[in-house]
């Protein structure tokens, strides 16, 4: 039987470009289910949608029952908050918005951005989230990676087991043939500092602060302890067994000692310092060009 032609499905969702590669074109019912799943997630977590659950929590506070999607996501945030001494936290939403990363992408920082609320200002025990005051949650550190995992589940449920999902920086590879991914030099998009080789079931998340930056040293990776952007690290890449963990750790590697993250989470990483130095874990699948 001849092999079907591989297919690439490209679309826009949650403000970013997606591409799903599969051995054969995705059926339209499957595609509909995928976009519905993304919308469902966005309806809870987008702080850019006034009707989302997080937007309502930001106005009303109070106790909320969250869906199963939120479980692994917020549980990971609790772990990351712990291992980074508070540097990673979903409580940076208001501060990020005040710094200009708001629903209108105003990119105008207010004179006095809000402080990051104390960790104790909310309680989370699945399925109940209690916001003791109105809180603007931001799951930008791990949400997209988690969404990639959720999309993979939808594909599997529709019989599509072989796929490579690429949500612009968050990538989940589920095909036998290894996938080679260049690690883009943050200072020069025509160059790569290395190559990752992903085997089936591995996720890669890349994060860099230089492109998604505005104003005077402002970008989207905040240190929850200071409420200000971090500057020591300019790019990170993490390989893990889920998009969620890869994405969350890609943020954590901007903010904390790699030894602590390596001790706590099963993953591999590469990261670049502001002075161009590069560090990587001993078993990173691939190569760093030294």
């Amino acid at each position: 039987m001849p092999r079907p032609e591989p297919a690439a499905w490209q679309f826009e969702a949650i403000g970013t470009a997606w591409q799903i590669d599969t051995p054969a074109p995705i059926a339209s019912a499957t595609a509909t289910a995928v976009t519905a799943r993304i919308d469902e997630f966005d309806a809870v977590w987008s702080r850019f949608r006034p009707d989302s659950v997080v937007s309502r929590i930001a106005v009303e506070g109070g106790a909320w029952l969250l869906d199963e999607d939120s479980r692994a996501l917020l549980d990971l945030y609790v772990d990351l908050h712990d291992v980074t001494d508070g540097a990673v936290t979903p409580l940076v939403g208001r501060t990020l918005a005040d710094l200009g990363y708001d629903e209108a992408y105003s990119l105008q920082a207010s004179v006095e951005p809000a402080a990051v609320p104390a960790w104790e200002s909310f309680d989370w025990s699945y399925p109940t989230l209690v916001a003791h005051e109105p809180l603007l949650l931001d799951v930008g550190a791990a949400g997209k990676g988690h969404l990639v995992d959720l999309v993979a589940e939808v594909l599997t449920a529709h019989g599509v087991t072989d796929s490579t999902i690429d949500a612009s920086g968050d990538l989940l590879h589920r095909q036998d043939e290894p996938l080679l991914v260049a690690l883009e030099h943050p200072g020069n998009a025509t160059r790569a500092i290395g190559v990752a080789e992903l085997s089936s079931g591995q996720a890669l998340c890349a994060s860099a602060t230089n492109r998604r930056a505005w104003g005077d040293g402002l970008h989207h990776v905040l240190d929850g302890r200071t409420g200000r952007p971090t500057h020591d690290i300019v790019a990170t890449w993490v390989v893990a067994d889920s998009g969620l963990v890869a994405d969350g750790l890609a943020t954590a590697h901007f903010l904390t000692d790699p030894a602590r993250l390596m001790a706590r989470f099963d993953h591999e990483f590469v990261r670049m310092h502001v002075d161009g130095r590069v560090e990587w874990s001993p078993n990173f699948p691939g190569e760093v060009f030294t």
């Binding site: 109070g62 883009e184 160059r191 890349a206």
Partner: protein
């Protein structure tokens, strides 16, 4: 789904800044007692078998180093404090620039580290994908373009 208001739980408490300060002082004093080389304080605890350490401290100025975790690894802060009548009357925390990061990290995990990596041209690589900063939020990129356009107008 939002729960009814009567199910709301207790209000929050605790000032994070207080906890931070406590933590810094805590590890600082640990260092002082275990690593005499990092402290100029007169050693009062070398005689551990006695229980005189209970609650009296000599008045004076003390300093110690404490470490904390940051992106570069473990960084150090210098903590100066003044004791009078068993109370801390002054605390000053100074970050120390030197960053021993990668050495410590390498010792623990034997990871790779390289000075300024220039990389290779993408044209010379046979890869299926590129992962990095040029592929970010399209909404964000559009906003940046708008700002640039405004700036030129």
């Amino acid at each position: 789904m939002k729960l009814p208001a009567h199910k709301k739980m207790l209000s929050a408490a605790a000032a994070a800044s207080v906890m931070l300060l406590t933590a810094a002082c805590g590890s600082g004093s640990d260092d002082a007692s275990t690593d005499s080389s990092s402290s100029s304080a007169p050693s009062t605890s070398s005689d551990d078998t006695s229980d005189t350490a209970a609650s009296t401290y000599k008045d004076g100025d003390y300093d110690a180093e404490a470490s904390y975790s940051n992106p570069g690894g473990e960084s150090k802060v210098k903590v100066d404090l003044t004791l009078a009548d068993n109370k801390i009357t002054k605390v000053e925390v100074t970050p120390e620039a030197e960053n021993g990061t990668s050495k410590q990290y390498q010792a623990k995990f034997a990871s790779g580290i390289a000075d300024e990596v220039v990389g290779k041209s993408l044209d010379d690589l046979n890869v299926s994908k590129v992962a990095g900063s040029s592929l970010t939020s399209t909404g964000f990129n559009a906003a940046i373009d708008d700002i640039k356009a405004d700036a030129k107008a």
